[in-house]
């Protein structure tokens, strides 16, 4: 899990550098500070299980097992990227590994996750779908319709709200009449609020919900409380949050917390983690080189893949 969190963190830091060097364009939404949520949840999934992701999707994608080189190439807009350069950061999907896609439409993943789980139920394939969504998807109609339908159809889906406290500049308490994690009773399913920056707790609670879904007992709604350390996108430098709040959450950084916990428990040594860091660094360098060396798509690609 440490490796996964480091891969997410370093992938995004490298992407930011490349973006600022004008090697990429469009929007980049950083997951930095929220790594424990995707990592803990995906660690509790089996290979072949499904996830739906969001506009802030790098973490979900990496935690689900995506290759960094193909992700980086997608951000660079190259043919070797996961989407051949057609999707970019906000639309990376890796259907083969069960990642049904990042999404530019807030809330849109909720009904899609229900549908994927419905398919599993029909095929009886034993798979579970995890639906990641932000706290600001709580007010969408798609959330309400999707969660309600998931419940009444009793499909194997787990709804994971990443409450990073904000949707752009809007505080989650302003936008949601009641916290997402309190809404389970309204939809006839268990719900709980967990510490999204504690990767162990995330893993344990996700495991319970995922097992429950796999056993045919229906959906669970989890609200993982975490924090978006960076701006909404790479362009966001607005001062709607106070420095104290940001500092407080940086002190709760999930990777640092993991380190403290494993060192204290003597489960890993500094050296163990350094070895992982080195390995991640190499993978990042290799991903960047791969992306830089990859060809740009040609114009004949524009109208390809619109239809089968």
């Amino acid at each position: 899990m440490y490796r996964t969190m480091r891969r997410i963190r370093r992938f995004e830091e490298a992407a930011e550098v490349a973006y600022r060097a004008a090697k990429m364009r469009g929007a980049l939404h950083f997951y930095i500070g929220e790594e424990a949520t995707a990592t803990g949840v995906c660690a509790a999934l089996n290979e072949g299980d499904f996830i739906t992701s969001t506009h802030r999707g790098h973490g979900h994608c990496i935690a689900k097992g995506a290759r960094l080189d193909k992700m980086m190439a997608e951000l660079y807009g190259r043919t070797t990227g996961y989407c051949g350069g057609k999707g970019g950061s906000m639309h990376i999907a890796d259907v083969a590994s069960g990642n049904l896609g990042a999404n530019g439409i807030v809330g849109a993943g909720v009904p899609i996750a229900v549908g994927a789980a419905l398919g599993s139920k029909l095929r009886n394939d034993g798979k579970v779908t995890v639906c990641f969504f932000g706290d600001a998807a709580g007010p969408t109609g798609a959330f309400h319709e999707g969660v309600n339908m998931g419940s009444v159809l009793n499909v194997p889906v787990v709804f994971v709200c990443e409450n990073n406290q904000y949707g752009m500049a809007t505080h989650t308490e302003y936008a949601n009449a009641a916290p997402v994690g309190d809404r389970g009773p309204a939809y006839g399913m268990p719900s709980e609020r967990i510490d999204g920056n504690d990767v162990f707790q995330v893993y344990e609670r996700a495991k319970v919900a995922i097992d429950r879904a796999r056993d045919g007992e229906g959906p669970t709604l989890i609200e993982a409380v975490t924090y978006r350390q960076k701006g909404h996108t790479i362009h966001d430098s607005k001062g709607y949050r106070d420095e104290e709040e940001i500092a407080k959450w940086i002190a709760q950084d999930p990777i640092e917390r993991f380190k403290r916990a494993v060192l204290e428990a003597k489960a890993l040594t500094e050296n163990d983690m350094q070895a992982i860091d080195d390995e991640v660094e190499e993978a990042i360098t290799q991903a960047e080189e791969f992306a830089e060396a990859s060809p740009w798509p040609t114009l004949d690609a524009i109208e390809q893949d619109v239809y089968v």
Binding site: A27, G85, I105, E303
Partner: protein, 341 residues
């Protein structure tokens, strides 16, 4: 038929150069001052100041009661505008990107557009729905669409676009004062374009096209950002001795067919340019109007330069290739002239 306003006309003393986003801001601010029933609602219109800075500072000036940050609830934004309008308010409802209007489609199409008619004229819905549209920003398929044809196709909606700060301000003010439902599209690639805007108050009536460049050989009929590409193409072609007239239709519904026909009557050639997917796009309506009503004036078929039949791709070369540019417009103008020989 006459060109009533002269946008981007020689700057007079009382004219400043401002961004299109600022011009739109002024329109909102002035209309809020003029009519206490006007209010603004949408995602991030308050604290953030609007995704493209149009509403920046309005929250501080007008307060939370009239500059309303909403949750991410497009259906509720679209519908709350209906309820507020029918009971006497004059809402300006903003969608952060026109791509998200799909979520509000029932409220816009089945409620806003139809209430007055279904109620036998016994209701008035003075709503302005604002939305950024268009490609060129690297934001990929779900943040770059040009969906104006969807709305122009719905009886009960008026549809407005703008290509300059001057037009943006005058047209938005008229849209807010309009007693019908207006869908007001702003091309996101030109928010930061500067242009002359008078100090004094003015409005531009809906339903009037504007000739942005006079010419005698070919009429290029277009709107929004493509007006600028058409003007660039016209400059290129001027060097080849081809004199292009650029007609900015501005309002898609009601469409100023007279101004378009007058131009074609003069040039005998028409090229229609739009950024949306070519098939079934709004330019097809323009082309059809020209051939129905101006057939005798035409020396060549009406040509279209439009977007590819695809979502907008992310990668820069693909995105550029998916929408019209000055080179493709110029090529179509040449082709049109060849067709007449």
């Amino acid at each position: 038929m006459a060109v009533t306003s002269a946008p981007d006309a020689p700057a007079e003393a009382a004219t400043r150069q401002i961004f299109m986003s600022q011009a739109l801001h002024e329109a909102l601010d002035e209309e809020m001052a003029r009519d206490p029933n006007v209010f603004v609602m949408g995602e991030e219109v308050g604290i953030w100041g609007g995704a493209y800075n149009v509403t920046a500072g309005l929250l501080e000036k007008w307060g939370e009661a009239r500059i309303i940050d909403t949750p991410i609830s497009e259906a509720a934004i679209g519908g709350a505008a209906v309820g507020a309008a029918v009971t006497g308010c004059r809402p300006v409802a903003e969608f952060m990107y026109s791509d998200f209007m799909g979520i509000a489609m029932d409220q816009i199409v089945n409620q806003a557009a139809k209430n007055r008619y279904m109620f036998g004229g016994a209701a008035k819905l003075p709503i302005t729905y604002r939305a950024p549209f268009g490609a060129g920003t690297g934001n990929a398929a779900q943040h770059t669409q040009s969906l104006e044809a969807w709305f122009a196709h719905v009886p009960g909606l008026k549809v407005v676009t703008c290509s300059s700060p001057h037009d943006a301000k005058g047209l938005l003010k008229s849209s807010i004062r309009e007693d019908n439902v207006v869908v007001f599209f702003e091309h996101k690639a030109i928010y930061s374009m500067r242009g002359p805007v008078p100090e004094d108050e003015y409005t531009i009536p809906l339903g009037m096209a504007d000739v942005k460049r006079e010419g005698s050989d070919v009429s290029v009929v277009t709107y929004a950002r493509q007006v600028h590409y058409a003007l660039e193409a016209a400059e290129q072609l001027a060097g080849e001795g081809i004199d292009v007239e650029v007609v900015d239709v501005r309002t898609l519904y009601p469409l100023d067919v007279d101004t378009i026909l007058a131009s074609v009557h003069k040039t005998n050639h028409a090229v229609v340019v739009y950024e949306a997917a070519r098939f079934g796009g709004f330019g097809a309506e323009i082309a059809s109007q020209i051939q129905e009503h101006g057939f005798d004036d035409l020396d060549a078929p009406v040509l279209r330069v439009a977007g590819s039949h695809s979502p907008i791709p992310f990668s820069e070369p693909l995105e550029k290739g998916a929408i019209p540019d000055p080179e493709r417009i110029a090529a179509a103008v040449r082709e049109s002239l060849q067709g007449s020989r």
